[in-house]
Subunit: 84 residues, 4 copies
């Protein structure tokens, strides 16, 4: 679930290892570039943390953020993340 | 299944879209760099084709290639590729 | 210089190592996704080969290809590729 | 210059746009996987922030971190980052 952190949409994602985490980040980067709306992305080994807000709207959470969050969730669903 | 094509280990992988294909290629790139053994990678929209051989062993197929193919297959298993 | 190969726009790019080559490929992937027009990309260690044509226009070379080629050249200029 | 922030090696890198920033992050990811030592990576549009420490050594800064910082600096030098 996305929550609100420091006035931004926020979600944390867990992966098996760094390679899987970074493959997900690459998807996020490409989706962001496609819609020209870029989240803050933090990678700590196999944990990825995203923060979304809209700079042009005084850093509030807008429809652009909710739409991007949805596309990111769809891409995440295609990563198999259950433990081995 | 990996087959032999032009004396190299060869496999073709299909994805839903370019983003999913490229996320897989990113995994392949990182695995290759980890083991310092790099396949030929061709990306045509949502199709990825890999060829593996060992340059130091006169471009034959060696254990290094079979080991890399196995690691790539494991990474591919973590991509959900069934149709929606 | 881009030339024509098999009826497609074609160019080959050389890098110092696989990491530099793949960083360039990542730029190409993101630009392609941004404009929703995707070249064929082949990576052989530190050589990257691109082929561009427009599927919707019977695989001919169109303005879309020439525009993408220009953006790729701009991204390539930001890679320092002279020998050390 | 790398400095110390919260007991970790820290450096911030600026790029022209998100694509250039992410291409650099891809290099960092591949170098990290090669040496099996992974920094914290934060991407905010065209700014990349890295933090390095060694988990196995009670999160202190070790030779592993200084060596990784050096390799990252070398990869950064190959990104042309002056303003247009």
């Amino acid at each position: 679930m996305w929550s609100t952190d420091q006035g931004k949409l926020h979600k944390q994602f867990e992966f098996r290892n760094f390679i899987e985490a970074f493959a997900f980040v690459t998807k996020v980067a490409m989706i962001s570039e496609r819609v020209n709306h870029h989240p803050e992305i933090c990678i700590r080994y196999k944990t990825v943390e995203l923060h979304l807000c809209t700079h042009d709207e005084e850093n509030t959470i807008t429809e652009k953020d909710r739409h991007l969050a949805e596309r990111i969730d769809q891409a995440y669903k295609l990563c198999l993340t259950e433990p081995e």
